[in-house]
Each structure stands twice: as structure tokens, then as C-alpha cells.
Symmetry: C2
Subunit: 150 residues, 2 copies
DNA sequence: CGTTAATCAGTAATAGTTACCATTATGGAT
DNA sequence: ATCCATAATGGTAACTATTACTGATTAACG
């Protein structure tokens, strides 16, 4: 068992770099950032520290469905939304609803402790290209209908 | 693009075995079951078919947080709960609430399409051992208090 | 039947993450 | 300030779940 978390330069820089961001970087993205300040740090050290820091409650580890882990400098329970287009993850300003757990507990013989919720959709940057693509497709269809000889 | 999903013996048996279960097996668990009837089937075939079958809406692929994929013969949107003790996944008889998406959309500039929710807790089998362990710990503490000479 | 694309078994490759281990550095006790 | 036990590190190997590839097989169509 770990007596105490020592303050190493690696650990401090990881924490600082994560603190600067409002995004939710992957371990590798954090590695690339930290490497600019500590070029000799190893990816394993980044993983180990992100794990230890999240265990001690200084950061949050996000295990999202189907993709790699992401990390969050903002603690406190909040929900996230992932863009289907570009993959970015943002906070959702919706308070984590503890009442959902109680509602679920009534329907189950489990002892329910928590829930995770994740939203999916298109971020502002990805909404426009998608509708443009839709318009082009519609035009193609119209052209096709107009042009055909049946 | 796939013209048509052919009915192969492998595909049929995978679908049958998954249909028998109310649990939510992993690809490997399905592989082990199917192997009893088709000993020469390969794990790759199981993965490929589970993917194709879920794409065509005949089964459901569950991408849960932090663990491997699971598959569900029951279609239709419903929530799941995972036991922290033994890892099993059960259905939760709570209707998937589409209104949550709308509530979230008001708080975000994303175009929200869906949400996933996953509950965590202890299943009936794992509640008892846990409370027993708790009782023993309490007894130890009491014994310790009674026994000490300070 | 014969044709053809879908599917197969077997296997290699990949991605993300964790485990290991010899060496280094931290922080509390001298 | 120096010492020391051990936490932590860099480098690398191992691992797990999943996907990709490839040449052989097979279902579905007329
Ligand atoms: Mn966040
Ligand atoms: Mn289910
Ligand atoms: Zn986007
Ligand atoms: Zn259990």
C-alpha cells in the first residue's frame, strides 16, 4: 500500500498541464504535452500517475463507452458529451442527478451505488459540414430525378 | 457494401445461442458456447458476425465503460446495471428516457442525438458477502476496543 | 448445375494499457 | 546537512481485446 504520494516533477507537470485544459485529453495527449517540458518522461509514468492521481481524487478518470480513457482536471460529478464527428468531449452543464439512482433502485434487486451517463451528438463545428453534405445529397437526388428518362 | 446477409450455420448458431441467454455475454463467452456446436468456428467469425448482426439491428452491441464489449439478444433501448462484485450485467426495467436528451440539448450547443446510461452496484449474490465482511470488521473493532489496556 | 460475391478459418497485426525491473530521487528521521 | 527506506522512474516487454488480411469455401441467385 502507498504511504504517501511524493511530489515528483513528473507528477507536478502532469497535474499542471491537465489543469490548464478544459478539454478531456487521452493519456497520450497528456504525454505529448508533458514531453515538451520533460522530454525524458515515459508514457508508462504518465499512465501510472494519471491512475494514482485519479485514485486519490485529484483528477478524474473518464472511462467512456467504446473508446480509450480520458482524463479530467475538473473534479465533481458532471456529465459529458462526445461529438460523433470529431471525437471531442465536452462538459455538459447538467447536475448529476442522484435521484436517478433511487428511482432505479426501486426497479431492481441490486444495491445501486452510482450511474454514468454519456451523451452523443454533433458539436458546433461539426453541425454545419453535416447539413452542407445533406444539402448536396438532396441536390444530387433532385438532379437525378429531373435528369432520368423513364 | 453488403448486398444481403446470408444465412450461414455459424451466423445462425451465434444468433440462437445469444437468444437463449438473458445475460449479456462477451464475444469470447459466445465463442465458447458456439464452439460446442461448431467446434471449427473461429473467434474472428464470431466477432465479425456480432458486428454485422448488431449493425443490421438483430442484436445489440453494448459498449460499456472501461470493459470489453458485451452483446444483447434483446433489442430496444433499455439501461443496464453492472455488479461491482462479480461483473455480471443485468437489464434494468427503466424505460429509456428520451426527454433527458431534450433537457440536455437546452444546456448545450451540441446537436444531441442520444444518451447512454449505466448503473453500478452490488447484485443480490454479492450484497450478502459484503455485509458479512462488514460485520466481521465491526466485531474486530469492538473486540479491539474491549481488549485494549490503555 | 454454374457463377459470383459473401463468408469462412486461420493467423498476423494493431491499439491501448499494464507489468516488470534495475536505477534514481524524495522526504522523514537522524 | 546527511542518511536511508522505499516510492517512483525510464525503458521495455507483455498482455488483452479487437480488427485486418488472405486464400479457400459456400450460400444464393437464376
Ligand atoms: Mn469534464
Ligand atoms: Mn439488456
Ligand atoms: Zn465535432
Ligand atoms: Zn455480483
Amino acid at each position: 500500500m502507498t504511504e504517501h504520494l511524493r511530489e515528483t516533477s513528473q507528477r507536478r507537470v502532469i497535474l499542471e498541464e491537465l489543469g490548464k485544459l478544459t478539454s478531456h485529453p487521452t493519456a497520450n495527449e497528456i504525454y505529448e504535452l508533458v514531453r515538451k517540458r520533460l522530454p525524458r518522461i515515459s508514457l508508462g509514468t504518465v499512465y501510472r500517475n494519471l491512475e494514482l492521481l485519479s485514485q486519490s481524487g485529484l483528477i478524474q478518470k473518464l472511462e467512456m463507452a467504446g473508446t480509450q480513457k480520458r482524463f479530467d482536471g475538473t473534479i465533481g460529478n458532471h456529465y459529458h458529451i462526445r461529438c460523433i464527428g470529431c471525437g471531442r468531449v465536452d462538459d455538459l452543464r447538467l447536475p448529476a442527478m442522484k435521484s436517478i439512482d433511487e428511482a432505479a433502485a426501486d426497479l431492481s434487486d441490486y444495491e445501486i451505488l452510482w450511474h454514468k451517463m454519456e451523451f452523443g451528438g454533433f458539436c458546433p463545428d461539426c453541425i454545419t459540414p453535416r447539413s452542407k453534405r445533406g444539402e448536396i445529397e438532396i441536390l444530387d437526388i433532385k438532379k437525378n430525378i429531373i435528369g432520368r428518362k423513364d
